[in-house]
């Protein structure tokens, strides 16, 4: 994984770090983690989940039926976790160029 991720993808993967979640729970967790900046719309979320499943970063781990409707739970795969950590390291490296200067109060 060398290409930078888009912010929604990053937070969707980050939402799945701790435990498998279903669609709406992913949206809520992504919004919490991004402090409200990323709140994927449902159409966008499922397009992203399809793509991430195709890339092997996410997989469905269980299904349940609630009020007659299917609810699928998604989990990170080892590849997905590696890609997420790679992106986090890339962002941290980029931040390290700026943060020490900001801490010293330089303009």
């Amino acid at each position: 994984m060398t290409n930078p991720m888009r912010e929604p993808t990053y937070f969707i993967l980050a939402a799945l770090q701790q435990e498998p979640l279903h669609g709406y729970a992913i949206i809520k967790r992504a919004a919490e983690l991004s402090q409200g900046r990323v709140k994927p719309a449902t159409g966008t979320l499922y397009t992203a989940l399809d793509r991430l499943t195709g890339e092997g970063y996410v997989r469905v781990v269980r299904e349940e039926t609630v009020n007659g409707r299917v609810r699928r739970y998604y989990a990170l795969t080892p590849d997905g976790l590696a890609a997420l950590r790679f992106e986090a390291a890339r962002l941290a490296e980029a931040a390290s160029v700026v943060i020490p200067h900001a801490a010293m109060g330089w303009a």
């Binding site: 290409n3 930078p4 991720m5 888009r6 993808t9 279903h22 669609g23 709406y24 949206i27 719309a41 449902t42 159409g43 966008t44 979320l45 499922y46 397009t47 399809d50 793509r51 991430l52 890339e55 609630v66 009020n67 409707r69 299917v70 609810r71 699928r72 890609a83």
Partner: protein, 283 residues
């Protein structure tokens, strides 16, 4: 009376392709209803509705997260088809008009018919070959028509030659019909000109400008249409520059201004589409 929320969302989900709906429909409906319940809403949120419609259109457009290079190959194919259709569209519209109004056909007024009919026949043969993915033969077939003064066909030949080494798959979804856009513009322009002869020039110009605007709006769905239209307008611009270099120029200031205006649509279409393809290629 407002329909229950699940009925409203169900209608929106009908915009999606049937196989996607079978696989994901119930799951998406569950997510949408859960979210609405949490927000205390009885109607779909506008942002949610727009996202649902756009995602459905993207699926219908046949866009499947290709790399920028794959997007370009498909767009070059569509652009070449558009150029051929463009060269054929105007004579076809005139022929139809001549048949409907029983006026002399355009080739009867513009010299020997073979000067028009042979390039048109070559264009139609090349169009068929290109649709069959025989890009090299199609490119060769177009060359004589191009040098007979049908410069759009020469541009189409150059684009088809690019596809010889790496042939793109024919696009699926709505993109298949994008190449017909010049045909639509020619027929609408001809019909509009017949109905309102005093403003036929304005109608023609309006339709010509409507295409890039539609391409820019469609960027939200599929950037390959904008790329193909950008190539079509770029060919038109290059032909215009060629004519300026050959012909006597009445006023350089006026010519420069005209060319600058003509350069705007391809610059915007190609620039924004390239950026969109780059952004879409990110995970």
């Amino acid at each position: 009376m407002t329909a229950p929320l699940d009925v409203t969302y169900g209608r929106l989900l009908r915009l999606y392709p049937a196989d996607f709906r079978r696989e994901r429909g119930a799951e998406m409906l569950d997510t949408l209803l859960e979210m609405a319940e949490d927000d205390g809403r009885s109607r779909p949120a506008p942002r949610e509705t727009i996202a649902l419609v756009l995602t459905a259109l993207r699926m219908r457009a046949g866009r499947e997260s290709p790399t920028p290079w794959e997007s370009w190959l498909t767009a070059i194919r569509t652009g070449a088809l558009m150029l051929i259709v463009h060269a054929v569209a105007y004579p076809l519209a005139l022929m139809t008009n001549a048949a409907l109004h029983r006026v002399p056909a355009f080739w009867e007024m513009s010299g020997p018919p073979e000067r028009t009919l042979i390039p048109l026949a070559l264009a139609l043969i090349a169009l068929t070959l290109a649709l069959l993915r025989q890009y090299l033969v199609a490119a060769v077939v177009l060359v004589p028509a191009g040098f007979a003064g049908y410069w759009h066909l020469l541009a189409a030949s150059a684009l088809l030659a690019v596809l010889v080494r790496r042939r793109p798959l024919p696009p699926s979804g709505l993109l298949r019909y994008a190449a017909l856009a010049p045909l639509l513009v020619a027929f609408l322009g001809e019909a509009g000109g017949q109905l309102f002869p005093q403003i036929s020039g304005i109608i023609g110009f309006g339709l010509l400008m409507a295409l890039p605007v539609a391409g820019l709006l469609w960027l939200a769905v599929d950037e390959r249409v904008a790329m193909a239209l950008g190539l079509l307008y770029l060919a038109g611009l290059l032909i215009g520059v060629g004519q300026v270099l050959i012909d006597d120029v009445y006023s350089w200031a006026w010519t420069g201004l005209s060319l600058a205006i003509a350069a705007l649509p391809p610059a915007l279409l190609l620039g924004l589409a390239t950026e969109t393809a780059r952004r879409q290629a990110k995970l």
